[in-house]
């Protein structure tokens, strides 16, 4: 079967099994970046995020017939990605923590930001490091909710659908996660005097 990379403007019928590979190109194009971003935020490893992004789409392709359209394709893919990330995290939690302690979490690039002073840049970097460290300490579900909310800016309803939870539960997870991050930030330094305007 010849798979062609065709630029399409309209969403094809993704559940048409006869044309699925061709249609799937469109789906991959639409969603590969956010899926990779979510997996990278959850796994903290670009190679693993890349591999799991591919796995996510492959699983989606295999299960296309079971996609009933109850949620959007994006939400469905996020759900698959979250499940993959959780399964993967269970297998390599130890290594994950070691990497975090070594400071391998992504942070702002080293390229200078001309709009900020060196002190502001340092402060921002410290803040980001503190948030990533706090996120790493969160339980899986809280971590996922936090990443989807603050890295991906998904709505609470979308997160609830993606995680198969009630919106109230998502709010609860988010509230706890934010509390932990806040405490971590406050503990990490003398933020009261250094808080940006």
């Amino acid at each position: 079967m010849q798979v062609t990379l065709v630029e399409t403007t309209a969403a094809p019928d993704v559940r048409d099994p006869g044309r699925a590979p061709e249609n799937f190109d469109w789906i991959v194009r639409q969603h590969q970046k956010p899926i990779y971003r979510i997996l990278l935020s959850l796994l903290r490893d670009s190679d693993e995020a890349d591999v799991l992004t591919q796995e996510c789409f492959l699983r989606a392709f295999e299960k296309l017939e079971s996609f009933r359209g109850d949620s959007s394709m994006g939400t469905w893919l996020v759900r698959i990605a979250i499940n993959l990330a959780h399964d993967h995290a269970k297998n390599r939690r130890q290594a994950f923590w070691k990497r975090l302690i070594r400071g391998a979490m992504p942070h702002r690039s080293e390229t200078p930001d001309l709009h900020r002073s060196p002190e502001q840049l340092l402060l921002a970097r410290e803040q980001v490091a503190a948030v990533w460290a706090a996120v790493a300490e969160l339980p899986d579900q809280q971590q996922t909710v936090f990443v989807l909310r603050f890295a991906e800016e998904m709505s609470l309803e979308e997160i609830a659908k993606a995680m198969n939870l009630e919106v109230g539960t998502i709010k609860s997870h988010l509230s706890r996660a934010v509390g932990v991050v806040k405490q971590h930030l406050l503990r990490s330094g003398d933020w009261g005097q250094r808080a940006p305007e």
């Binding site: 079967m1 798979v3 990379l5 099994p17 699925a20 590979p21 799937f24 190109d25 991959v28 194009r29 590969q32 970046k33 990779y36 971003r37 990278l40 935020s41 670009s46 995020a49 890349d50 992004t53 591919q54 789409f57 492959l58 392709f61 295999e62 992504p106 942070h107 702002r108 690039s109 921002a124 803040q127 980001v128 503190a130 948030v131 990533w132 996120v135 990443v147 909310r149 603050f150 890295a151 800016e153 709505s155 609470l156 709010k171 988010l174 509230s175 934010v178 991050v181 806040k182 930030l185 406050l186 933020w191 009261g192 808080a195 940006p196 305007e197």
Partner: protein
Amino acid sequence: MNSLPKDHHVKLPQRNPGAKISAEEKAEWLLLKNALKEFRDSARQAAEKPESFWENQRQKVLACCERKAPVRHQRFIWSWATALVLVVLGIMVLVERQQPVKPDFAAGYDQQLLLDIDRTLDRDVPAALEPGSLLPEEIFPTGRITAAP
């Protein structure tokens, strides 16, 4: 995107609706808000890749899909073929059971029939009444049946 979503759950602390927020609380809130914005930006920046990366990833995904598609098609055909064979076998078994037992017209059957007819004709008592004819013989072994006085 310079601001956090509206329902981001990072709200100014309000113990009482009318109470004023202390400077410390406001500073904490600003700190958190800024840190979350930095977090979002860092997550996005970390995931920024050249177009070749995305193209390569897409090609890999589609290549895997291409390999999977015939397998899926074959699985579909095999499942239908198996189901069809089972249905045909079931129908054959049912038809076999419903067929009436036909007499065997092979050699010897006619001969046996003629012998049975001969035996029937030779009998003093029809076969159906034979049990009834044996009953008096068992009651009166002497063979005499006397009438009541």
